[in-house]
């Protein structure tokens, strides 16, 4: 009798437990599915994309197909497929794979697509690059061509107005000088359709990756680091560079930037002690930058101040860029006395303190913003749509990067170049004397360059 009673009364408990478990697991499954199934309608229309692909035929190849499956290959068989775009039906929509309606298999430079539920394919385009699966790099300062997957950023129309303002997951605190062991951002693992691996510059390769310069007006740049006494490897009096066909390396209107009055302490970007007391380029009057007379923007401030949303997860949305040539007011303020100088790119720019809205970073198209990721110093600039770091891919191992702060300057040498996924910050680690340069090469990838201080 007692046993029967026990049995019957345990029923509701069991039911309660089971239903709770089922509810919880259903919720988990749904949220998990949401994070891995992404519809990836591309921002640009088909005709614009085709134009871009034709203009960049060394890295992009479009193949006409008709039916439920198709195959496409890179322009060069030594290249690796980095991104796959497809056009299906007769509209203007371009899909950047992965997408749940299409399946793809990639074998080195060849990609095969099958339609799962979408329209018939009309063309497949692949963007390719030179990637070797070697996980690490040895610094060989003499190696020349830079392997990048960067679709020539300056060519227009660009297929990728997708410069994301989010360099990666939220850096902890821009205003915090301490290299705090920042809480690791909770990343939604983006489905990595493209092998994320280190790049090894192969001296013989990759003419197809960078747009080959055809025009040849040489550009001579005033010495940037003229009378320093530091042991810089190449204190050359002038840097001569042949610009790529469609771009000039920002020797814009010659107004000097005004490091705005920032009350917060400026971080010592790069972390290293200042080995010299060289005056910064601003005080030497040799800075040629685009005008940054006033970066304040009450519209951006209003957006930032009025955002009251909860953080739902990381996002790396695309940017619809405005005319990117001038330095438009972004609301970010220059870090007092901080400059980055990259002689090889003829780049001399002030460093800004980036702001954010929620987890979305606000980075002006012509700004290099300082942020901390995993406690490491990261300088981020846009790489697409004529962004300030559009030529970053030209850097090679051993190239020089100089950072100026209020105390003087630090010299760095590039020690590592790699492509990483948009949400992958595992390669960024705090280490004294390292600085990372980060830029976007596509919607899903970032070019990450590590530079080490030279003692």
């Amino acid at each position: 009798m007692t046993r029967q009673k026990t049995k019957s009364s345990s029923g509701p408990w069991l039911f309660l437990c089971l239903s709770s478990f089922l509810l919880l697991s259903a919720k988990f499954t749904l949220s998990h599915l949401n994070s891995i199934v992404t519809a990836s309608e591309y921002e640009l229309g088909a005709s614009d994309f085709v134009k871009w692909c034709e203009a960049n035929n060394t890295i992009c190849k479009k193949t006409e197909v008709d039916g439920r499956d198709g195959e496409a290959s890179c322009p060069n068989s030594s290249q690796t497929v980095l991104e796959i775009y497809i056009h299906a039906g007769d509209g203007q929509t371009v899909y950047l794979l992965p997408d749940e309606k299409y399946s793809s298999t990639i074998e080195q430079s060849v990609v095969k697509i099958n339609v799962i539920s979408g329209h018939d394919l009309s063309w497949i385009a692949v963007v390719c690059g030179q990637i070797t699966p070697t996980p690490s790099l040895t610094a060989t300062p003499t190696s020349s061509p830079t392997p990048t997957a960067t679709p020539s950023p300056a060519s227009s129309p660009s297929p990728t107005p997708t410069a994301t303002s989010t360099p990666s997951p939220t850096p902890t605190d821009y205003y915090d000088d301490e290299p705090s062991p920042s809480p690791t951002p909770t990343l939604t693992p983006s489905p990595s359709r493209i092998p994320i691996s280190s790049l090894t510059p192969s001296p013989t390769s990759s003419p197809g990756l960078t747009s080959t310069p055809t025009a040849s007006p040489t550009l001579t740049v005033t010495p940037l680091l003229s009378p320093t006494t530091t042991a810089t490897p190449s204190p050359s009096p002038s840097v001569t560079q042949t610009p790529s066909p469609t771009t000039s390396p920002e020797p814009g209107p010659t107004s000097t930037p005004q490091p705005g009055p920032t009350s917060t302490p400026a971080p010592n970007v790069g972390g290293g002690e200042s080995p010299t007391s060289t005056p910064n380029p601003l005080s030497q009057g040799i800075v040629n930058t685009v005008s940054v007379a006033d970066t304040s923007n009450p519209l951006v401030d209003g957006i930032r101040e009025s955002f009251y949303g909860q953080v739902l997860g990381l996002s790396f949305p695309a940017t619809d860029s405005a005319d990117s040539s001038p330095n438009l007011p972004s609301g970010n303020k220059p870090l007092d006395g901080h400059f980055i100088v990259i002689p090889k790119l003829s780049l001399i720019q002030p460093v800004y303190r980036g702001e954010s809205v929620g987890q979305t970073h606000l980075v002006g198209n012509q700004e290099i913003d300082f942020s901390r990721i995993n406690g490491a110093d990261v300088l981020y600039g846009h790489g697409l749509d004529g962004g300030i770091f559009q030529h970053l891919y030209k850097l090679n191992l051993g190239d020089e990067v100089n950072l100026f702060n209020q105390n003087g300057q630090n010299h760095y040498q590039v020690t590592d170049i790699r492509l990483v996924g948009a949400s992958d910050v595992s390669a960024v680690n705090h280490q004294t004397g390292l600085v990372y340069l980060l830029t976007c090469t596509s919607k899903s990838q970032r070019l990450l360059i590590t530079a080490k201080i030279i003692k």
Partner: protein, 177 residues
């Protein structure tokens, strides 16, 4: 055995009651919150409340369950270069937003003169954390003073409320009528 069950049952009932109380108190709060007078100047529509403005002149938010909480902010700033025409100045600001804010889409931009102010009304949207955030921004310029009124909100169903609040803020805090 029976005692354990009794304890578990009591605990369960207590927990359920707490949850139920919280849930119902929240439900009853949102739709029927009485309108709140703001600074004795105007009355806010239901659900809106004034919050600590921080460095801004004025800030309001609305209680909702939507991840993007509607908010309105009034900022006052000054124009450095008085030579710039208001129209060109605002155009440059809009270009700045477009090149800075990810996923920014300009929907409309209209200008008018009101009480000696140059007024630009800008409707736009952007993406944040996977959500579309709608924006309505009114920027008022007179002499070197710039007032920027920004509303960010998730859906168009509160357009009217926002219009009403904008009008009131303009009357009481910008034109001081």
């Amino acid at each position: 055995m029976t005692k354990i069950k009794l304890v578990v049952a009591i605990l369960l009932i207590t927990a359920l009651s707490v949850f139920a109380l919280r849930y119902f108190s929240r439900l009853s709060k949102s739709p029927s919150t009485p309108s709140v007078p703001v600074s004795s100047s105007f009355v806010l529509p239901a659900g809106w409340q004034e919050v600590d403005p921080g460095k801004n002149l004025f800030k309001l938010t609305k209680l909702t369950d939507h991840p993007v909480k509607p908010a309105i902010v009034l900022i006052k700033s000054s124009l450095d270069d008085s030579q710039t025409s208001p129209s060109l100045y605002v155009d440059r600001l809009v270009d700045g937003v477009r090149s800075t804010v990810p996923g920014y889409k300009l929907i409309s931009s209209q200008s008018q003169d009101i009480d000696g102010f140059y007024l630009r009304i800008i409707q736009s949207s952007y993406r944040n954390s996977g959500q579309t955030v709608l924006l309505r921004q009114n920027i008022y310029l007179k002499d070197n003073t710039v007032y920027t009124l920004t509303a960010s909100y998730p859906t168009t169903d509160i357009d009217n409320e926002i219009g009403l609040i904008f009008d009131n803020i303009y009357k009481t805090k910008i034109s001081n009528r």
